[in-house]
Symmetry: C3
Subunit: 307 residues, 3 copies
């Protein structure tokens, strides 16, 4: 049974069966990553273009490794070397790249909706690697994989997304994906970082971090994006840490069974203490490993479709 | 029958038989590009260095894809990360790279003659990917391939190169190649963009775009390189468009059988209207696809020579 | 017999047997580089990350070619695109990359000790590609390979390292390696460029270049790193050339059997004259070719260890 869509643009509206298929397929690739020879010939002769209009070390390398381990050919394209400097329209740039007979495009862009737009101008399979504040579906999929790996299930779990929900594409993809899989989702943070009316998509809002820890099986702790807008929405990083930082004290006081996720990069001492970031409650590096397996699964499922 | 030269530096002086061999070989690779697995093992174990001293998204990606689809190993070298910053001479940089046992070098450089110079200091096969205002032979080859694909022949055709001929390496390579193949070549543009005395290489000069459209089978419309010198040779882009822009009106009035080529990137509304750029007369994206096949053919023919 | 260490951090303390094993293994790979198909499947399915925090064209390309010719998968990571910009600690960046199931890391960093630090936070095999003024072991290994190739042995040879010894990681690695192999090592340069007390590691200090040429079998001529500190330790490059530059005159007057090495990039007319750099006494481009073979040997020996 193939995926119901030939693109992965986000998790909004994606049926449970598709998410389950990706998670199940990733289990196989997770095993490949433990072999001495971490490579399969599945996508040999297929070409994937990584179209990154925003810098991203870990996501770009994770996708690139996933592609190489599936034996695909990879071409990296970043803004800094692009013809967009020569006044070419974005649409023309993409159509030109696609005319070179590309099978898949992995795209990251600062504007929400760019991956969707690509599906209209290209025949390639499009994978969203993060678009503005909209979605980052492979991050949410690897988060769900890591939760399931630790707790054995997703349905019925209580998951709280903590921190800068307002500026986060990770939050939105997690909410859509987790709810599709039957989990209960809340968000926790200062009012300035929680979008007004988010309750309308079926999410509970909490402003007390101790309560969030106490009442949830999993906390997905978002990065305070100090280099972006978030910096101006909080008084100081110290005050943020005092009110919302995840510390060993808080975990031990409220809920020693909680599982801590963080999409990275971490601001140690801001949204999470070093003790927690390196401690027994977190699965942060498992998330990174699982991310390669998830991306291999998505590339495989899309790349082997009958068109 | 192999090529008569072990390099592709330009099309000036290249015999018709060589051009024919490249165009014929490209037909095979064009078919490979339609397969689900667009890859052949022909150049496995060969190393190609892409030595780009000027930015170029499409040409660099086109060459890189051609190399990967022939199973060659590819190393990218661009100025920004180069030892030339440490005061090393260009010659020493190239001789060092070549000492690592490189089979072929694809070079783009802002100075005319650099590819020729490389043949003196390196044993690798040299492919010119554009040198100053001199030549860009693979672009002219893919243009010829695209014309032949559309019209079935080159000999006897009337081709007009329109626009910034003075600053264009694409124009010069097209003139040499098309004339070798028996086509009739004209150029059309404002006097400031047509080199004085170009008639001496057997090219007719026209200053009236309607006449150019009416009297030719093919128009190869060059990019006004607004970021380079061309910007100062025309009054305004609007005025340029009014006098020399290729529009649907002009085509329909003068010659509905004309075929429009453009090497990209396009300045929509300057040298070509959007209606034409996306319309039935043009083969612009076919040129891009054919470019990969042409580059595969050139890499294959040079890379499999007995030295 | 495997190497005694699972990393190559430097040549200090490395036993003679290990150096001999690397040099012997490189002979095989040097032969592979003369074949039409310069590629072996040895490291297929292994992943190597090139973690370059300092620019280095030749070392990066040399390692990348070595990796590709061993059929390893290669991912390049450079500071300019890194999450270190987002405030992530160096340790977190490395642990994240390693969590993607990397087999080997080749690291260049401006700070001495970084490769050693990596061994504490990563399970990958670490290869030092240059750390601060500390070591650059593969450079010293290729220097030794090139000396042995020319003179048939290392034991008993008299080798002098000339120039900016104080700021050089190449000097230090050469001293450790050559002494382990039984060579006699001196250094020669102006007092400002020779570290105080270097005699304590068993090295003779000479300040007269004619004497250095006369009394040694090999001169390893270091680069005056004009872009770094060295610039301020010498009065002018002309004066440096007059007192310490290696010229054909000096060689012919003192010792026509001397062999000249230089790690590149060369400052022609500063530490070495063009006549010598291109002449019969030097093995500079052989060093570059041998560098690929040495790096293949090191990658192979570490990459095929039982962990």
């Amino acid at each position: 049974m193939p995926l119901s869509s030939r693109h992965l643009l986000g998790l909004a509206g994606v049926p449970k069966e598709d998410i389950q298929l990706i998670l199940d397929t990733a289990v196989t690739f997770r095993e490949v990553l433990e072999r001495p020879i971490k490579k399969v010939p599945t996508l040999q002769g297929k070409t994937v273009v990584n179209l990154f209009f925003e810098n991203s070390t870990r996501t770009r390398i994770s996708f690139e490794l996933a592609q190489k381990r599936l034996s695909a050919d990879t071409v990296n394209f970043s803004t800094s070397t692009s013809s967009t400097k020569k006044g070419e329209t974005f649409k023309d740039t993409v159509r030109n790249i696609e005319a070179m007979k590309i099978d898949m495009i992995v795209v990251r862009h600062q504007s929400a909706g760019v991956p969707q737009f690509l599906t209209q101008i290209s025949n390639a399979h499009i994978i969203n690697a993060g678009d503005g504040r909209h979605e980052h579906p492979t991050q949410a999929l690897l988060d769900m994989y890591s939760i399931k790996e630790r707790l054995g299930k997703l349905a019925g779990l209580k998951v709280c997304i903590v921190g800068d929900v307002a500026h986060s594409r990770v939050a939105l993809s997690n909410i859509f994906g987790l709810k599709a899989m039957g989990a209960d989702v809340s968000v926790c943070g200062p009012p300035t970082l929680i979008p007004k009316g988010i309750e309308s998509i079926g999410v509970k809002v909490i402003h007390d971090i101790d309560k969030a820890i106490a009442e949830h099986d999993v906390l997905n702790v978002l990065r305070i994006q100090l280099e972006r807008k978030a910096g101006s929405s909080i008084p100081t990083t110290r005050e943020y840490h005092n009110y919302f930082g995840i510390t060993a004290d808080r975990i031990e006081k409220n809920n020693k069974d909680v599982v801590i996720l963080h999409p990275g990069p971490i601001n140690r001492g801001v949204e999470i203490s070093s003790e927690v970031a390196d401690g027994p409650y977190q699965v942060i590096l498992d998330q990174v490993t699982n991310g390669v397996a998830i991306r291999m699964a998505v590339l495989y499922l899309l790349g082997t479709m009958n068109n």
